[in-house]
């Protein structure tokens, strides 16, 4: 009697089909687990934090790709919170002193590590960021008055402040860690904070005449792209067109054209819950920080 081969066409076909079924089942289980129990966080974002597809009259949706995607714009805080100690907590080997002779080789091209990131919407980090820019404006104004700098420098500083205040993203990466549960406990507000998967990088800043060598890094979320489901397509297209055709009001401020609720599940992966294209009228305030701005700083050139 002929021995049946260990692997034949029928088994190959069944095994391949099983691979498809099992893989898709795993994907759906993953998605289901992420969304089970409802959102862990829900952030209301505008076109400040979400980059809309650019409207090109000749081919808005690329003819070869009809999919529309929104991109989260996550800012990095100017505050250097990623120091050697924090980087060590994130799993990087930071035992070698940054000033040691072997440090440049030791910290050369270190690969990123996966971490959990905390995203903060319209919170204290933004306030401090704006206050820092406002202080820069004041310093530049004093320098111009003293003849140490030219007027364009002041205009540039004021433009930066206005851009950050009215148009820039209010979403900042403010913390990172390896324990997602611990981060959620530290940042419990579901409408202001989202804990998401991300990566952290480390690099060595060499010694200068004013400062010794030190370690620093940055973080970025892993998923920033949100595919637009069919039911939101029309709104996004309307908003995209309005976004491309919008003009500034006073002080370099653009009107808001889009609002979206982005939910985050227990695995930190996002999805769109609602989308609304706004009618382009006189811009309403969309940031509580507007009322927090120091008096006299309004982002206009020469203003006081």
């Amino acid at each position: 009697m002929t021995r049946r081969p260990l692997w034949d066409r029928r088994r190959g076909l069944l095994a391949a089909a099983l691979a498809v079924v099992v893989t898709n089942a795993a994907v759906f289980a993953h998605v289901g687990w992420n969304r089970a129990g409802g959102p862990v966080a829900r952030l209301e974002l505008t076109d400040r934090e979400i980059r809309l597809p650019y409207y090109n009259p000749s081919s808005f949706a690329d003819d070869e790709d009809t999919g529309l995607a929104l991109h989260l714009d996550v800012q990095e805080s100017a505050e250097a919170w990623l120091d050697r100690e924090r980087l060590g907590e994130l799993g990087f080997d930071v035992r070698t002193d940054p000033g040691a002779k072997g440090a440049p080789i030791r910290y050369r091209n270190v690969l990123p590590r996966d971490v959990w990131l905390v995203l903060e919407l319209d919170g204290e980090t933004l306030r401090r960021h704006l206050a820092g820019l406002a202080e820069e404006v004041e310093e530049t104004r004093r320098a111009v008055a003293a003849g140490e700098q030219e007027q364009p420098a002041l205009e540039w500083a004021e433009g930066r402040l206005a851009e950050a205040r009215w148009n820039g993203s209010r979403l900042f990466a403010v913390d990172a860690g390896l324990d997602r549960g611990g981060l959620r406990e530290r940042y419990p507000e579901p409408e202001r904070y989202a804990v998401v998967p991300g990566t952290a990088r480390i690099w060595l800043v060499g010694k200068t005449k004013d400062e010794p060598a030190y370690l620093t890094g940055d973080v970025s979320p892993t998923v920033t792209r949100l595919q637009v489901p069919l039911r939101f397509r029309r709104e996004v297209l309307r908003a995209g067109r309005a976004y491309s055709e919008r003009e500034t009001v006073s002080g370099g401020r653009y009107p808001r054209v889009f609002r979206a609720e982005v939910a985050f599940g227990r695995l930190g992966e996002p999805w769109l819950e609602s989308v609304e294209a706004l009618s382009v009228e006189a811009p309403a305030s969309d940031s509580q920080t507007e009322s927090d701005m120091p008096d006299g700083i309004d982002g206009e050139s020469g203003g006081g």
Binding site: L111, L230, E269
Partner: protein
């Protein structure tokens, strides 16, 4: 594999010491030996040293029915003309598969923005399953395997699209286990239908998974595994060992592919690191690392040539030679390009090529073993 299961005419009894061909590749080798035998017999007859007529006729009749049976059962080529056409068919099948796979992927991206999520999911899940069905149908209808290869590659591309697009639709954090799923799929088809192209797809996916996992075990985010070529070395060594552990009796042509891609997966990272020491895990100066990997590259490629000659692994001899030459020439560029007159540089390159030819010729002479006479 492509056996019509019970409808093939009986193959003549196998000579003592030789079994019935278990695969198309074995059958083709047998057919090639018969054709070579016939050509040699004609030459001997012309020289007056042929077989007695009765015996020659008996052998001729035996070979006629053997070739007919092999062609019927395995669709082998029995003439040089058929062989040439088969080569063309293989190229056409491969290019056709690539084009069809690209078309399927682009078609999906063309329409996915205007269909709802449930429809997107249904299309993505159904596509690789339909591709599998097409592969099975092609294998049943046509024994050569070319159409099955085409359908199998398209099924693989559809499965890659399935996983990738679902990841985009649901904003799933990228994972290296996708490579494992793709590898499992490709291997299942490759071994089930005897398709070498799918084996290569499976090997490539497995290499990616193992390399990504090697990086991830070091604590790094897996997506950056390519920034450390050393991540590929364990995968390469594993592939080289596969034919030793798994004897491919039914599919003997698979073993050389494992060895070829295993060696490639080892030599290519070494070549990269020989010019980019900063990409190494080792905490040494870039220049030192580049020197180390250059020496290693020479040693490994020479070793591959030596082992390939000894074991009669042509793929190792050829690949080892190619990389030895690449390592030599890139070293020449480092040493000579900036200061040497260009005509002299290329003269030296040509001289090394001639030297390599001479060495290989000597090695070929050593590799020849006298055939035992009956």
């Amino acid at each position: 594999m492509t056996d019509p299961e019970g409808t093939a005419p009986p193959v003549p009894p196998a000579p003592p010491g030789e079994g019935r061909p278990a695969s198309k590749q074995e059958a083709q080798r047998r057919a090639d030996r018969v054709l070579a035998f016939r050509a040699e017999l004609r030459a001997l007859e012309a020289e007056g040293a042929g077989l007695p007529a009765a015996e020659a006729e008996r052998i001729g009749r035996h070979h006629d029915s053997l070739l007919a049976a092999l062609a019927e059962r395995f669709d082998v080529d029995v003439t040089e003309g058929e062989k040439g056409l088969s080569r063309g068919m293989r190229i056409a099948a491969f290019l056709g598969a690539l084009a069809l796979a690209a078309s399927v992927v682009l078609l999906f991206y063309r329409v996915w923005g205007i269909i709802s999520t449930p429809v997107q999911v249904a299309v993505l899940v159904a596509a690789p399953l339909l591709g599998l069905a097409a592969t099975e149908l092609a294998a049943r209808r046509e024994r050569s395997g070319y159409f099955a290869t085409l359908a199998g590659l398209v099924a693989f591309a559809a499965f890659v699209l399935n996983v990738t697009a679902l990841g985009e639709i649901f904003a799933i954090t990228p994972s290296d286990t996708a490579f494992l799923a793709w590898a499992a799929f490709a291997f299942a088809i490759a071994y089930g239908y005897g398709l070498r192209v799918l084996l290569v797809a499976g090997i490539a996916s497995l290499v990616m998974f193992l390399s990504a996992r090697t990086g991830a075990w070091g604590g790094w985010y897996w997506l950056h595994f390519g920034e450390r070529p050393e991540n590929f070395l364990p995968a390469g060594l594993l592939l080289c060992a596969v034919p030793t552990v798994l004897v491919h009796r039914r599919l003997p042509d698979f073993a050389p592919l494992y060895r070829l891609f295993g060696l490639l997966t080892v030599l290519l990272p070494v070549l990269v690191l020989a010019h980019w020491g900063a990409g190494s895990y080792l905490p040494l100066r870039s220049g030192t690392l580049e020197s180390i990997y250059q020496v290693l590259g020479f040693v490994l490629s020479a070793l591959a040539i030596g082992v390939g000659i000894r074991k009669r692994w042509n793929e190792w001899v050829n690949l080892g030679t190619v990389f030895f030459v690449i390592f030599t020439w890139t070293k020449f560029v480092d040493w000579f390009w900036d200061w040497m007159p260009k005509y002299m540089f290329f003269l030296i390159v040509a001289a090394t090529a001639v030297a390599a030819l001479w060495v290989l010729q000597r090695l070929r002479g050593l590799a020849r073993r006298p055939e035992a006479t009956p």
